[in-house]
Amino acid sequence: MTGAEIIVESLKKEGVEHVFGYPGGAVIPIFHQLFNAPFNFYLARHEQGAVHAADGYARASGRVGVVIATSGPGATNLVTGIATAYMDSVPLVVFTGQVSTEMIGNDAFQEADITGITRPISKHNYLVQRVDDLARIIKESFYIASTGRPGPVVIDVPVDVSKAETRFAYPEHVHLRSYKPVYKGHPLQISKACALIERAKRPVIYSGGGVISSNASEELREFVRKTGIPITTTLMGMGAYPETDPLSLKMLGMHGTCYANQAVHDSDLLIAIGARFDDRVTGKISEFIPEARVIHIDIDPSSVSKNVQVDVPIVGDCKQVLAEINKTVKAPEIGEWIDKLKKLKAENPLTYKDSEAKIKPQYVVERVYALTKGEAVICTEVGQNQMWAAQFFEYTEPRTFISSGGLGTMGFGFPAAIGAQIARPDRRVVDIAGDGSIQMNIQELIVAVQHRLPIVIAILNNGFLGMVRQWQQLFYDRRYSHTCISFAPDFVKLAEAYGAEGIRVEKKEEVDAAIARALAITDRPTVIDFRVDREENVYPMVPAGKTIKDTITRELL
């Protein structure tokens, strides 16, 4: 069997159904075999689109996303997508072609040292030097990508390895003496945590993306039910706990709710679960939690005590650790605390000043929520659109909010929506986009049209790179240096050129009809160009490196 055949057979063994990619010289032997392989192959129109789509597929389905691209520029075009998946711990197996082994290092045509380039942005990578190693490497890659703290694995396959022949035997087991993720939390640490929880007076749960990657949403809900402790989630953790529940404080951090940030700040016990104390969450770290002791559950030991000193670290899988805690934990007496937070929540709701004359971007998100009955899978681009999508939609299920949190990759949302729609044909997928971000991977529109994916692309079009403009307004004397992008394409005609539906919405009263019309279309994507208020800002905002005392709310302006 040739190397290329081994790749196809190995993917079959891994139960892969969907593959994203783009052909090129160094992967022709692999594509030769993909021609009649039993996978749905999605031909992106730029490799970045392929890797983001695989990422969106992985996030929406919980399975490993698979990408194949060629050597050199094909591989380097994947770099942003690999880094995006790495920062958000998304399991991907990425195949790149490589020039033939005897040419490596010669500056051969379409050669790039992609294992060198992706070393710091992938969980692991391989350069396959012998076809005999290929099956084992693929087996290891799927294992490494999907276990422990998940992440992307790159397999660089020289073209002669794809063509070389060997006997195919897919290994049953993986033998990696140096890689043994710890899943089970230490019993002593768990009992320490339970003791702290039972004695807490002002506890808060701070839940992150790790709860979603470990499919621990049920265990988390059980934990909240048993303890009655209020819960805030990170951007990556949204949906693990229903935001419609009274104990939910919604998102925390730079653009989180005032009540979530205040609750965390005032807490005497912070229970961090699958979260990593990112700077967008903590603000100024020394004043983040002045009075709290910290329990930190995380599968990645290097996340523990990285930014914040932790009192009870529990290294393990969120799902298993929470299940253990749930067996013994007793509810603390926190009636007073809950009453205080209830009041705080009632007094500081997420709001915006609505307008009849202008379409407020927040209003659009609210209407998408209402008209999809909150059941859509929401993908976002990066910037203001992302924050409004986080704030004004209530997420109740895991894997329904898909966004580039760590790397903050503009242009991620739409290709990710393609992957998400493939993973969830039963759900409507809406990409909440900005007019800046959507132009970064607009070429993928043809993929959605070709595969009849009824994605709704809601462009919150303000003619600005809005988040940067907001920072310029607030911190750089309103010098809108190169953030005005009102010199823009006609998004409706653009959609039509691709064979998608295009709708322009310029009046508030047209918003509902446009969303309803888009939702009625089930065989092609729809682009809705919402002409929203140009200088609307995202509030509340804790400026970078500052504390909650410095929170900017609408009223202060």
């Binding site: 294992t115 070393r119 692991h124 350069l127 990696l176 003496r177 990645d300 290097s302 990285k306």
Partner: protein
């Protein structure tokens, strides 16, 4: 503070770059690095000497442990260990100065490995501090060339 970090790794290509990358990404310069085989054919050991903030070094050690090809990380600055280094020193030594150099070499148990008309080349092994001292004493004779292997370290039982 100076840390001596011993890293057992899979003996594979690319591992050194992964390990070194974790230091360089933080702007840390590695003072010395020695890589060699171990009692197991497929395992190499890297002894890395690096200065840096303790908290950041702690983070780097955790990140090292995360690398798939890293088998074991230990910080030899924390436990009693035997540490050795080898140096080759080529000093200017006109015939009139030779006996002085010989004497110093003898005190430090350095071996003379080469002699030319104008130079003497000495080989010295020992604790890195001893080598530092020897080099200081050789400086007045003008060192033409100096090379050190970097420290290797083994924990005491």
């Amino acid at each position: 503070m100076r840390h001596v970090i011993s890293v057992k790794v899979e003996n594979k290509s690319g591992v050194l770059a992964r390990v070194a990358g974790l230091f360089s990404a933080r702007g840390y310069n590695i003072d010395s690095l020695a890589v060699s085989q171990t009692e197991q054919e497929d395992v190499s050991v890297m002894t890395i000497v690096v200065r840096g903030d303790d908290r950041i070094i702690e983070q780097v050690k955790k990140q090292l442990n995360k690398l798939i090809d890293v088998i074991k990380v230990s910080d030899h600055s924390e436990y009693p260990s035997v540490q050795r280094e080898l140096a080759l020193v080529k000093v200017n030594a006109q015939p009139s100065k030779r006996s002085e150099v010989y004497q110093l070499a003898e005190i430090f148990r350095a071996e003379i490995v080469d002699i030319s008309l104008k130079t003497i080349t000495l080989e010295l092994t020992g604790e890195p501090e001893k080598i530092d001292n020897f080099i200081e004493l050789m400086r007045p004779y003008s060192i033409k060339e100096l090379i050190r292997t970097g420290r290797i370290s083994m924990n005491k039982e």
